[in-house]
Subunit: 408 residues, 2 copies
Amino acid sequence: MRNAAIMGYGVVGSGVFELLRDSDVLVKKLGRHISVKKVLDLRSFPGDIVEPFLTHEPDEILNDDSITIVVETMGGLNPAYEYTKQALSSGKHVITSNKELVSVHGSELLSIANENNSRYLFEASVGGGIPIIRALKHTLLSEEVSQITGILNGTTNYILTQMYSLGLSFADTLRQAQELGFAEREPSSDIEGFDASRKLAILLSLCVNKQVNYSRIPTEGISQLTYADFICASKYGSVIKLIGRGDIKDGVIEAIVAPFLVQSGASILAEVGDVYNAITITSSMSDDNTFYGKGAGKLPTAGAIVGDIADILTGNLETVEWGADEAEMAEPTDAIYSWMVRATATKEKIHAAARGLLDDSYFFEPGIENQTSFVTLPLKHGDFLSLLTNLRSEGVTIENTLRIFADR
Amino acid sequence: MRNAAIMGYGVVGSGVFELLRDSDVLVKKLGRHISVKKVLDLRSFPGDIVEPFLTHEPDEILNDDSITIVVETMGGLNPAYEYTKQALSSGKHVITSNKELVSVHGSELLSIANENNSRYLFEASVGGGIPIIRALKHTLLSEEVSQITGILNGTTNYILTQMYSLGLSFADTLRQAQELGFAEREPSSDIEGFDASRKLAILLSLCVNKQVNYSRIPTEGISQLTYADFICASKYGSVIKLIGRGDIKDGVIEAIVAPFLVQSGASILAEVGDVYNAITITSSMSDDNTFYGKGAGKLPTAGAIVGDIADILTGNLETVEWGADEAEMAEPTDAIYSWMVRATATKEKIHAAARGLLDDSYFFEPGIENQTSFVTLPLKHGDFLSLLTNLRSEGVTIENTLRIFADR
């Protein structure tokens, strides 16, 4: 019999509570009962099954030696950071879904865990129920990873799928997603791409064994997209996906989170719809492996936490940490992409301004009043910005610009 | 320093030899050198780098106490079965890609391994470089698995993809695949579906902790398919895929390997082309997780073997076995499917013979001389056979019949 505590009784925390309390499967499978002794939340839940376990006082968990497993599902940096440090320092295992905390303080927290022979596990922090952390750790035992690519955020993927299939505006789709519970009331960390860049930072930190600062990953969200962008993309046989991508070469990381045109047939990522996530690990021996599943949701995420608990109970765990040094990041301006540009102008004006920089195989008029879209050759960021300046000086109005996804 | 031996210097065995000999990555990652001491093969390889290590004598490996890891890449039941038993009995770890041996004698070999504190690992036996065995083992630590579904054979998926995209016959496509090395000279175990049913049997054995006899899985191959089937399928928005599927309910398995119509958008499996494999695990907490990658090939499969070696070196391994009892299999005749039937007949004749059994929303004439295709309602196998008898008695010629893939 092990005693556990849950810090944070939100969607994921309450899911873990239910799984640990009710699951005969779990008792049968794990061979022993995990008893939830305390649940921390500042709120009260009168009448809820959690009531007898609820505390508003973190010390009732942190100072209780009979509690050996702490599930941290509070989210946010503080006070989760302090609580986690305290728990790990006193030899408790901490299991978390908190991507912000792992991405910012992962190196320190893993090191505290290892010093105290405790474990800091975070499968639930990336990809919901997709076992990506476990797969990546195992790959890294014997292989070098050269690239991580994926659709890392379910909310934005749902919004993009709906915008395209229903022809709605971004604002209307977001509102609808919020009503259905697929987007939060305060959605900016999802829609501006920061949730995805935090997850990407965690995966890349594991790969290079250094701290990857998510704020140094160039990050663009999806709020500037319009239905016209999807129409243009579809004329190139493509969909628009919010892609997180990190290329690792000689220990240097080139990373980005941004909406990309993904051509159908060029990548399985083009086929990932709704709230699904998919993450591809490219490694030296195993080639590309893609992991696809629901990237969020109460049960899958809570299940990922229970999976980490199972690892602790079976003792089946290698030590994992990454160094405190900051990883070296490539200059974002050196990154080379082809772009789709949607502009209000005639073909002739565009040709005059962009001679030699256009992919002649792609040139398209979408039938939206006076607008044209075209695709550039692969360009460094500086050259692309010069092209836009040229175009503007010819009187071309740039409506939107989107990167084209390509293998490297 | 650990000594390893490789039994069978074919495509996969030679890949493992190269990885273990040449990889600086491996030494750096694993922290120690794995030295290949002996390679068993009946053939000689004059001038090949393997020559100094080659032996024709299994006892030089099996009786050498300095060899603690044996990689078995011979394939086939015998003599691999005897060699594996001997190696495990003397405490050597055995790592294999041999799906036939694992599917037939897995229970016994795992039990011998556990008695001798050795390990029998077989990640490479299913899905090439896709880490499906590892993921399934972990899922089973804390969850019940209710379904395994997948495209488990790269050769047939390549042939199906090519038949459809090039409009070729089965025989021509097979010949071309053989020339390109994507199909073996003796291709029957691939094209008749037995390779897939062996892999499915291994996955299901792990799920139910009993021996699943692959010969009891109803198995149909792809050799009877024609381009007309693909044309008809495409009119229903579907592609044809060789699907292996096992549903587990109260410990009873309903399994099948057969070509199915898979509707685009209904399952990610519809998007899996060429030599790729994809396998979905449906479990009680994590929902559906799909693992997608190259299901075969020298480097991915050899990489999966090296991944198992890494697990042995890090000691990061739970004990796995499945019981010797045979798993209970559902009666194949109880399985319920909708079918697409391609027939030579008029609509009227079909309607007369099949009243009440047709899905009225689907009825289609493919434009192939006098042929019609239609989709039935979900039917038990016996009812479907009666329908075919009725149709034949009305003078309808049945050209081909294919199951429709549906979620359960």
